[in-house]
């Protein structure tokens, strides 16, 4: 049976309590549309989030939702995916969540290339705690929520993701929902860890990075002729992509910076070690027969023969 789900079918009954005009609405719409166009079965999708305005995303989606702890969305998502690789796992997390408190997990996921999508709500602030500077805010900037100019430099999310090993790295903008939707689809279809840096105006706290600000500056990398594909070795695409990400001035590239389809996913690596991994991953296993362990006395002896006197 082919699914015929409309974008609105992915909408839950929970009132979306983001501020009117918040950039998060664009991200949510893009997700509804991407899921519908890919005909994803809601029960196969798990949306995992951290804490923050962005962290509420799963509650607004009629798919399975796991709203975790601040900074820990990635470990939850990884545990879910490794235990059940059949699930389509997506992460929605704030810039504070992913690149501040969660930066260690962010780097680690790149080293694994687990097949999942990480969407970063890049709003330059810790929104839910009332607008402190997030790791994406430039030094010296003073959005209205800050009493004094920001004292820390911004991290470059694209460069960091590439240096960490993500094999799909892109930037979207919540003001361009259609473009963003296509990026989400491409990220889902990519085999490996995909990172989306999503520019998301916070209309309440950040009066610098507004819709106007971005509308004037963003341009489509792919339209501009940039090719993100790694063909053989990752270099020189890596440095090319990173150089792009440091592009200064009044232009902000959106689109795909880097895509490398040649790195085996973590799941494939596990399969090398455990041939049956994909057919019977941890979640699929039967561990008892009517209340008795499936490990018989004989099997136990076989598994642990090294220990028997």
């Amino acid at each position: 049976m082919v699914l015929e789900l409309k974008p609105t079918d992915y909408k839950s009954s929970v009132w979306v309590d983001w501020c009117p005009g918040c950039g998060n609405f664009g991200i949510l719409s893009a997700m509804y549309q991407a899921f519908a166009e890919l005909k994803l079965y809601p029960r196969k999708i798990v949306v995992v989030s951290g804490i923050g305005c962005s962290g509420k995303t799963p509650h607004f989606l009629n798919v399975q939702g796991v709203h975790t702890l601040h900074g820990r969305a990635l470990p939850y998502a990884e545990g879910i995916k490794i235990a059940n690789p059949e699930l389509e796992v997506l992460v929605n997390a704030g810039d504070g969540d992913l690149l501040g408190i969660g930066a260690g997990h962010f780097v680690a996921l790149g080293r694994r290339n687990i097949d999942m999508v990480v969407m970063m709500h890049d709003n330059t602030v810790y929104a839910l705690t009332k607008g402190q500077a997030a790791p994406t805010l430039e030094r010296g900037a003073k959005p209205k929520s800050l009493p004094k100019p920001n004292i820390q430099d911004a991290v470059n999310p694209i460069a960091l993701a590439i240096a960490s090993g993500y094999t799909f790295v892109a930037r979207g903008y919540s003001g361009k929902v259609k473009h963003l939707k296509e990026l989400i689809k491409a990220a889902i279809q990519h085999k490996g860890s995909a990172f989306l840096d999503i520019l998301q105006p916070c209309v309440t706290y950040d009066n610098i990075h507004t819709y106007d600000y971005y509308n004037e500056r963003v341009y489509d990398l792919q339209e501009s002729g940039y090719d993100p594909e790694v063909k053989g070795e990752p270099e020189p695409k890596i440095s090319e992509a990173i150089a792009k990400s440091y592009e200064k001035g009044n232009k902000i590239p959106i689109g795909i910076f880097y895509r490398n389809p040649n790195v085996p996913t973590f799941e494939e690596r596990l399969k090398e070690r455990i041939p049956s991994y994909m057919q019977s991953p941890p979640a699929a296993q039967i561990i008892d027969k009517s209340g008795k362990t499936v490990i018989s006395q004989e099997l136990f002896e076989k598994i642990f023969e090294n220990y028997l006197v």
Binding site: R72, K292, T293, L308
Partner: protein, 629 residues
């Protein structure tokens, strides 16, 4: 002799474990029960390490004792460090080439250790060189087996093609050969031990040859003065396992199919054992995925994530790692996510004594994480308990949909024992309230009962959140909902109170109308059982109350026994505060006033426990134990 206590000492990384393993396998093959504890520094190569062991002709021993009858010393430091541990008539195997080595010349000796030894040497009027010490020992009833390790090794080189650089690796074989001779183990058993260790190939051959050479020299000069009585126990099939190993075994039997971890002593070896057997015998049973993460924050939260998919999952760690898991535990409690944390306690606080033992993490695990949520805390006293507790922990976690903390410790982890093969027909699996086909009205957090109907991710639409939530799992801040869901979750504790029988929570050993009652938990068990026997010989009837679960606490039993024996009740623990006694106050309102405590990082020995009990019976209120190098 019914049993033999012995010590093997040498530098970390020098092959000491090999000696010990081979001797254990040889004793076990000969029908003896064995136990050995490994003591080592937080260091990779060079610091002093030793193995304290016992072979027994009558039982599968669980306790360790001093003094010892045999010391196998790979280096001079071992003799300096352990000569005070020797029984009268004991034997010391040592390297006579080192006679002129002076204590102060040995850089690996910690300043505090050196000072202590020096003080003793001075008091006994012994010079600082090894030769003088050995002479003193000879004069004082110790039998000294001085061997020139250099000569022995060059003989080995002559007989084999081993190059000089590799020869020093065979010092452990000298210890094996010499010990085997003195103890009079059947050469076939030694061969068996070496074969278990080295499988096959030239290294095995060289070991066999060399240990035989050494054995012959030693037995022709000294005979077999330490020969044990013939084995009398009928132990059935045995395994030789460390605590780490047997927990891994329990988990496999208990249906664990995913383990997350970040390396930490003394927990990591359990994960390695699991990984080694990840294919589960390739018998169509499936497999086990061991997932090493970037830290313990990731390890616990990945485990909880996996648990939502219906996987039986655990994380193993130690104190510093557990501290980082605290926030995740609360999320699991809030979301009724089953997860097991196997908690290997070591010496604290902070980094503490990373390779030494302790039982000082009880209070912090019972009360870990802000806010209130239900959990269970189990504690294992020996290898057998650890096996069954590992299974129970997995069952309880799923039956009550809660985090379960399984407390073990470094003592257990690194103690290798011969234990009976478990009867797996008793290994039950209870997965709790799983909903395979959730219907339209399905609610993950239904108020209907304390334990919720559990559908796995992939089965239906469910939401989870660490925020307070409604029956569906969506955030809710409304007060009535809050009371209902909070009550629902917390009432699991009452359910657990009702369903987990008192016998599961506590075991009583020893005399039923005792003169003295020991109250303890975890690795105290072996020493307590050993001490009970020794006390009997002194005419003291002792009982041991062994707590096996702290949540739920065996309130009734403890209250009961306390009401009868409060004046002779002694708290015995490997910590400073008497943490289990604090919990007896908190949960059962009894105030155990006498304490025997040890917090040097070394285990309690049954003999020192017995002596301490005698002192308490003579009026002491508190005994702090300190034996052991």
């Amino acid at each position: 002799m019914k049993s033999l206590n012995y010590l093997l000492g040498g530098p970390q990384g020098g092959g000491l474990e090999t000696s010990s393993q081979v001797l254990s396998w040889a004793f076990a093959k000969s029908g003896y029960g064995v136990i050995s504890d490994r003591e080592y520094y937080s260091n990779i190569v060079g610091r002093h390490s030793y193995i304290h062991a016992k072979a027994d002709s009558e039982e599968l021993p669980k306790d360790l004792q001093y003094p010892v009858k045999l010391l196998g010393a790979m280096d001079a430091e071992s003799v300096f460090t352990h000569f005070t541990d020797l029984d009268s008539g004991a034997y010391v195997i040592y390297n006579s080439d080192l006679n002129s080595t002076r204590l102060s010349q040995i850089p690996s000796v910690e300043p505090e250790v050196g000072e202590k030894i020096l003080k003793i040497l001075k008091k006994l009027n012994i010079e600082q060189d090894l030769g003088s010490l050995v002479n003193y020992l000879k004069d004082n009833g110790v039998n000294v087996v001085g061997l020139s390790y250099r000569d022995l090794l060059s003989e080995l080189q002559k007989k084999t093609n081993i190059v000089a650089a590799q020869a020093s690796r065979y010092i452990s074989t000298i210890i094996i050969g010499a010990s085997a001779a003195l103890v009079g183990i059947d050469p076939e058993a030694v061969k068996y031990g070496l074969t278990r260790r080295f499988k096959s190939g030239p290294v095995l051959e060289h070991n066999l040859t060399f240990s035989e050479i050494v054995s012959e020299i030693v037995s022709s000069n000294f005979g077999s003065p330490l020969k044990l009585d013939p084995p009398r126990g009928n132990f059935g099939r045995l395994m030789i396992v460390s605590g780490n190993d047997i927990v891994a075994m329990g988990k496999v039997v208990g249906g664990l199919r995913m383990q997350t971890y970040y390396p930490i002593t003394p927990a990591a070896d359990e994960s390695f054992t699991l990984e080694e057997h990840e294919r589960l015998g390739e018998a169509g049973i499936g497999s086990l995925t061991v997932f090493q993460l970037e830290d313990e924050l990731a390890a616990v939260n990945a485990a909880i994530g996996a648990s939502l998919t219906g996987t039986r999952v655990a994380a193993a760690t130690s104190g510093p790692g557990f501290d980082l898991m605290v926030e995740g535990l609360g999320w699991a409690g809030m979301n009724e996510a089953p997860v097991v944390i196997t908690y290997y306690q070591r010496g604290g606080p902070s980094t503490g004594q990373p390779t030494r033992g302790g039982q000082s993490d009880l209070l912090s695990s019972v009360f870990a994480s802000h806010g209130e949520y239900p959990r269970m805390v189990l504690a294992s006293g020996d290898h057998e308990e650890a096996f069954w507790d590992a299974i129970d922990a997995l069952n309880y976690a799923e039956v009550y949909q809660i985090p379960v903390i399984h407390l073990v410790d470094k003592f257990l982890a690194n103690t290798i024992r011969s234990v009976a093969f478990p009867d797996l027909s008793k290994a039950y699996i209870n997965r709790g309230k799983i909903v395979q086909e959730p219907g339209k009205d399905y609610k993950r957090f239904s108020f209907e009962s304390p334990v919720s109907p559990r559908a796995f991710l992939g089965k239906t639409l469910v939401w989870y959140t660490g925020d307070e939530h409604n029956e569906e799992g969506h955030i809710s801040e409304e007060p009535e909902n809050r009371i209902k869901i909070m009550n629902k979750r917390m009432e699991k504790l009452e359910l657990i109170e009702q369903e987990v029988p008192e016998e599961r929570r506590v075991s009583i050993y020893g005399d039923e109308s005792p003169d003295v009652v020991l109250y303890g938990w975890g690795f105290v068990k072996g020493a307590a059982l050993g001490a009970i026997k020794m006390l009997k010989e002194e005419g003291v009837k002792a009982m041991y109350v062994h707590v096996r679960t702290f949540i739920p606490f065996p309130k009734n039993t403890v209250k009961n026994i306390y009401s009868k024996y409060k004046d002779v009740m002694i708290d015995v623990e490997h910590n400073y505060l008497g943490q289990a006694a604090v919990l007896a106050s908190a949960f059962a309102n009894v105030e155990i006033k006498k304490h025997i405590l040890k917090y040097t990082g070394r285990p309690i020995y049954s003999n020192e426990l017995k002596n301490a009990v005698m002192r308490i019976l003579k009026g002491s209120e508190k005994e702090v134990l300190e034996y052991g190098a």
